[in-house]
């Protein structure tokens, strides 16, 4: 959403994201997909080469005038943890407030159903 506001104001953007399919639903002009866990759009800590490659790819997309919409996915980059560990590691130690809120709501609905 913010990227569209900035584009509409005449400033080009690149969105670097682990969820490029979702970004594409906003019809954004330049999307760079990265195969990393949440919170790590530019790669792993202290992996300078990986961070540089993502940064350079974002710069390259800015200069790319080949189409109205350009999406590039850096699927060849390899996260240094297995998926199970990475999945656990990116998450907060406590579920976020909205996750707890939705879980409580679900439980209450289930209880209501059982009472009926």
């Amino acid at each position: 959403m913010l990227a569209r506001l900035v584009e509409e104001a005449g400033i080009p953007t690149v969105v670097v994201t682990m969820m490029p399919d979702t970004a594409a639903k906003y019809e954004l002009p330049r999307i760079l997909g990265v195969p990393f866990p949440f919170g790590h759009a530019f790669g792993a800590p202290n992996d300078v080469a990986m961070q540089r490659e993502v940064s350079q790819a974002a710069i390259d997309l800015l200069a790319d005038q080949s189409a109205v919409k350009v999406r590039r996915d850096l699927d060849h980059l390899v996260w240094p943890q297995d998926d199970r560990t990475a999945y656990k590691d990116w998450q907060p130690s406590e579920p976020s407030p909205i996750v707890s809120y939705n879980a409580n709501r679900r439980d209450r609905l289930e209880e209501k159903k059982q009472v009926q």
Binding site: E8, V15, G39, F42, P45, V68, Q91, P92, S96
Partner: protein
């Protein structure tokens, strides 16, 4: 091959995100007004980074009201050092930001690429907000978005690279 957008999502979220409706049907595109070698670029992250001497993002209000997210942002200068960085985010583990904040806001990498003349220059001021925002992001549309755009223009920024966390 396309990146799997749902690889690290909890399985129970996947269906909802896959079914997330198309939000816009009209493309929008501004073109770079200068050559990339002259372009001033600013970075923006939604990872909740802030400087030790800045006010942290408001997590307490979100804990009281899970449907709310702090809509404010912080200005992060390009010369920021690792030891000046803090982070506040209830939806992410922020541990890695205290090791190397370049994973979310790669100021060091862009400074290196700038010195190698891969692009014009990194903006003096870059931006961070806390990624969980209220449904529809009304504050951003009305207040923070236009304010931020004004700052980018004041600084002569030619392009913005955004990295949702």
């Amino acid at each position: 091959m396309p990146v799997d957008s749902y690889r690290y999502l909890p399985r129970s979220f996947r269906e909802g995100f896959e079914a997330f409706p198309i939000q816009e049907t009209e493309p929008v595109r501004a073109d770079l007004a200068v050559a990339i070698t002259d372009a001033k670029i600013a970075l923006m992250t939604s990872s909740g980074l802030y400087l030790e001497n800045q006010e942290p993002f408001d997590l307490d209000t979100e804990l009281d009201n899970p449907l709310w997210g702090d809509p404010t942002y912080r200005e992060i200068p390009r010369q920021t050092k690792q030891q000046e960085i803090s982070a506040a985010h209830l939806h992410l583990n922020t541990r890695d930001y205290y090791v190397d904040f370049n994973v979310a806001l790669p100021l060091d990498r862009f400074a290196e690429l700038e010195s190698e003349k891969r692009f014009g220059s990194l903006a003096d001021t870059n931006y961070s907000f806390m990624g969980y925002q209220q449904d529809g992001t009304p504050d951003w549309r009305r207040d923070q978005g236009p304010e931020l755009i004004g700052k980018l223009k004041e600084q002569g920024v030619h392009a913005l690279i955004l990295a949702p966390a």
